[in-house]
Symmetry: C2
Subunit: 343 residues, 2 copies
DNA sequence: TTGGCTGACTATACCGATATACTAACCGCT
DNA sequence: AGCGGTTAGTATATCGGTATAGTCAGCCAA
C-alpha cells in the first residue's frame, strides 16, 4: 500500500492535519513551528510519501482535469489534415492546461456516449468542445452541460448558448485570400469543402468567400462550390470535367493537397494554370511541391486561449461568456501565381 | 449542487446502499425487489441523478485513467511526421482504453516534472511510455514507477526493467526494404535518421540495416549513415555533395519526405536516379509526388495492444512482463524503381 | 486571580459511493 | 416451538486528504 499522510504523521509524531499543512497548504503552513515542519518534511522524505492527488481532488470537489471533446479519431483515413490541425491545437491545449495545473483527457465523441457522460459525471472540471455543433443532439448536449465549456471554431451564441468561444477571423482569412487571387488576375474562383452539412465553420467560410467574390464583381454559383466526400472521388471528377476555374480556395490543407496532387496527375500546371490556396498553413504546406499557399491561423494560441477562458470560468473569474477572434494570415508559397503564368 | 445517491435514496424511501446496488452494481442488484428497484430508478430519473465517477473511483482506489507519457508536443516544428505517427498510435490507444472503460490523459514529458509525478501520485492506474528511454534519468524513472507501465517501441528488458513492451519487427521491416532495393539492382544504399543518440529504436534499425546490407555483400561505412538534425540542413548538404548512393532508407516518413522534396529541388529524379523508402507508411505517403514507398507498421493495433497489456497487468491477469512484436510490411509506391531507370 | 489573547497543535466531520456486517421478517421443516 | 435458510433491506466504516472548530499551554494586563 502507498504511504499516506497518516503514516507520515505517525512517524513525525503529529496529527495528519499538520502534515497536510506543511506539505501541501502553503497558506496555513505558517501555523506550524519551524521545528515541527522540519520533522514532518523529513518523515515524508524518509517514507517516500507522495500526495494522493485523487483523494485531494475528491475532497476539494474538483478533478483538475479538462476534457477535450473532439469529433473523431486523430488519424482519419484520407483525412490526415485532421491530425495535423488537431496536433497544433492540442499542443496549445496541453501547454495551457499544464501551466494552470490541469491535465487533459481526450474524449472522442464517436466512442460510446462520451459527450453526454463527460458532461455530468464529475470527471471533468471543464470541457473544450472542438467539433461541429449544429446537430440537434449536439445542441441539446451543449445546453444541458453542467460544467463550464469553451467552444473552438463554433459560435453558438446564435442558438442561445451560454459558452465562451475561440474563433479565427474567417472574414480576414478568406477575404485576404480572395484579394490575393484577384490581385494575381484571377476571376474564376472555386471554393472546396468537405461534405459535412453540420459544420458551421465551413458554411461560414463559404459565405465569406461568396461575399468577397461579390465585392470584386465575381459571380459565384453552385458550380463554383466543390463539395468533396470522404474518399475524395469528387476531386478526380472535377478535373476530368475540364478546368472551369483558374484558382481554388480549400477550407483545409489536406483538401488543398488533394487538388494539388490530382492536378499534377492530370497534367495541369500548378500554379501556371491553376492556383490553389489551403487553410491552416500547417508545416505540411512546405512538404508539398509546389509548396502550398495557405491561410494561417494561430492554432496553438487558440488552444491556449480556450484553456485560459475555461480555467477562468471554472474559477469564477469570467461570469459572462466571452468570444475571442484570432486574426488569420496568408502564407504565400508557390501554389499561387499570376493567372496563366506558365513557369 | 449535484444530485447524489443520498438524494435519490431519500426520494425513493430507501437507504443509499440500495440505490447503489440498483443503479451501479449489477451483481448485487438481485438482492433488491423489483418494485423497490423500479422506485429507485424512477427517483433517479426524476432527479436527473448522475453517478459521481470521481467518488466511485476514489472509493475503489482506482482512477480508470491511463497516462500517456510522450516525448514532446504533438506538432513539432519541421517534425511533422511526429504528429502523424503519434496520431495513428493515439487512435489505437484511445480506442483500446475506451473499450476497457478507461480514459486517457496526455503527459508531455517536457512539461515540468510530468513523468516523475505521474508515476506515483495516484492519478493513473497505469502508464504507456512512448519515448526514447536510454537516458539515465528515464531509466531511473522507469525503475521507480509504482504503477503498471507498458513501453512502446522500447525494449528495456536489457536494463533489467520489468515492463511489458510493444514493438515492431525492424528485422522484417528494414530487412524487407533492403531486399526490395537489392532486387531492383541497388548496391549503394544509405540510411537516414534523426540525430538523437538516445533513441534505441533508431539504433536498432540502423544495426538491422547494416546487417542486411552485409548479407547481400554490400559494405556500409559511416558515410552511408546520414544523421539529420532538427533543421534538416544536412539533407541539403548531402545532395550538394553529389549523389553518392542510388537508394536511401529513412527511419521515418517525414525524413524521407524531406529527402524526396530536396532531391526534386536539386533536379535529381526520384526514383530514376534515387530511390527512397520511408518508415511508418502513414497516409502522408500518398500525398507526396512521387508517392513514397514505405515500411508499414500497424500503429493502431500496436496502440490497442499496449492498452491491452496494461489493462491486463492492472487487473492482475498478467503477472509476468510480456513482449509483442508486430510484423512490418512494405508498401511499395512510386519512389522506388530499378536503378538508373529514368522514367 | 482572572480574563483575554496568541501560537501551536488536535479532533472531528466530510466529500460520495460502496464493501461489509448486521437485522428483521418470513418460510419450510422437523 | 425451535432451527436453519433465504430475502430484502439497513447501519456503519472506509478510501485519503482537508476545512472547521476546538483544545491547551503560556503570557500579559488589569
Amino acid at each position: 500500500m502507498a504511504v499516506t499522510l497518516r503514516d507520515v504523521a505517525a512517524r513525525a509524531g503529529v496529527s495528519p492535519v499538520v502534515v497536510s499543512r506543511v506539505l501541501h497548504n502553503k497558506a496555513q503552513a505558517i501555523r506550524v513551528s519551524d521545528a515541527t515542519a522540519e520533522r514532518v518534511r523529513q518523515a515524508a522524505e524518509e517514507l517516500g510519501y507522495r500526495c494522493n492527488v485523487a483523494a485531494r481532488n475528491f475532497r476539494a470537489q474538483q478533478t483538475m482535469t479538462i476534457g477535450i471533446l473532439h469529433g473523431s479519431g486523430f488519424a482519419r483515413p484520407k483525412l490526415n489534415e485532421g491530425s495535423r490541425y488537431f496536433a497544433c491545437l492540442m499542443d496549445g491545449l496541453i501547454e495551457g492546461a499544464f501551466r494552470n495545473g490541469y491535465s487533459v483527457t481526450l474524449c472522442p465523441q464517436l466512442l460510446s456516449d462520451a459527450p453526454e457522460s463527460a458532461m455530468g459525471d464529475g470527471r471533468f472540471d471543464g470541457l473544450v468542445w472542438y467539433s461541429s455543433v449544429s446537430s440537434d443532439a449536439n445542441l441539446g448536449a451543449l445546453a444541458r452541460c453542467s460544467v463550464p465549456l469553451v467552444l473552438i471554431h463554433s459560435r453558438t451564441a446564435q442558438f442561445g448558448s451560454r459558452h465562451s468561444a475561440v474563433l479565427c477571423d474567417n472574414e480576414q482569412g478568406i477575404g485576404g485570400a480572395v484579394e490575393h487571387l484577384v490581385e494575381l488576375g484571377h476571376r474564376r474562383l472555386a471554393f472546396a469543402m468537405d461534405v459535412s452539412p453540420l459544420n458551421l465553420e465551413s458554411l461560414d467560410r463559404l459565405a465569406v468567400f461568396r461575399r468577397h467574390c461579390a465585392l470584386h464583381g465575381i459571380e459565384t454559383g453552385d458550380r463554383d462550390v466543390l463539395e468533396v466526400g470522404w474518399d475524395r472521388r469528387e476531386v478526380d471528377s472535377y478535373f476530368r470535367g475540364g478546368l472551369r476555374h483558374t484558382a481554388l480556395i480549400a477550407h483545409n490543407d489536406g483538401l488543398a493537397a488533394e487538388f494539388l496532387n490530382r492536378a499534377k496527375d492530370f497534367d495541369i500546371d500548378v500554379p501556371g494554370q491553376f492556383s490553389i490556396v489551403g487553410f491552416d498553413s500547417t508545416s505540411f504546406c512546405d512538404e508539398l511541391r509546389p509548396t502550398l499557399t495557405s491561410i494561417s491561423q494561430p492554432l496553438r494560441e487558440m488552444g491556449e486561449c480556450a484553456i485560459d477562458f475555461l480555467v477562468r470560468t471554472i474559477q469564477g473569474e469570467l461570469p459572462e461568456p466571452v468570444e475571442q477572434i484570432f486574426p488569420c494570415g496568408l502564407d504565400i508559397r508557390e501554389s499561387t501565381a499570376i493567372v496563366g503564368d506558365r513557369t
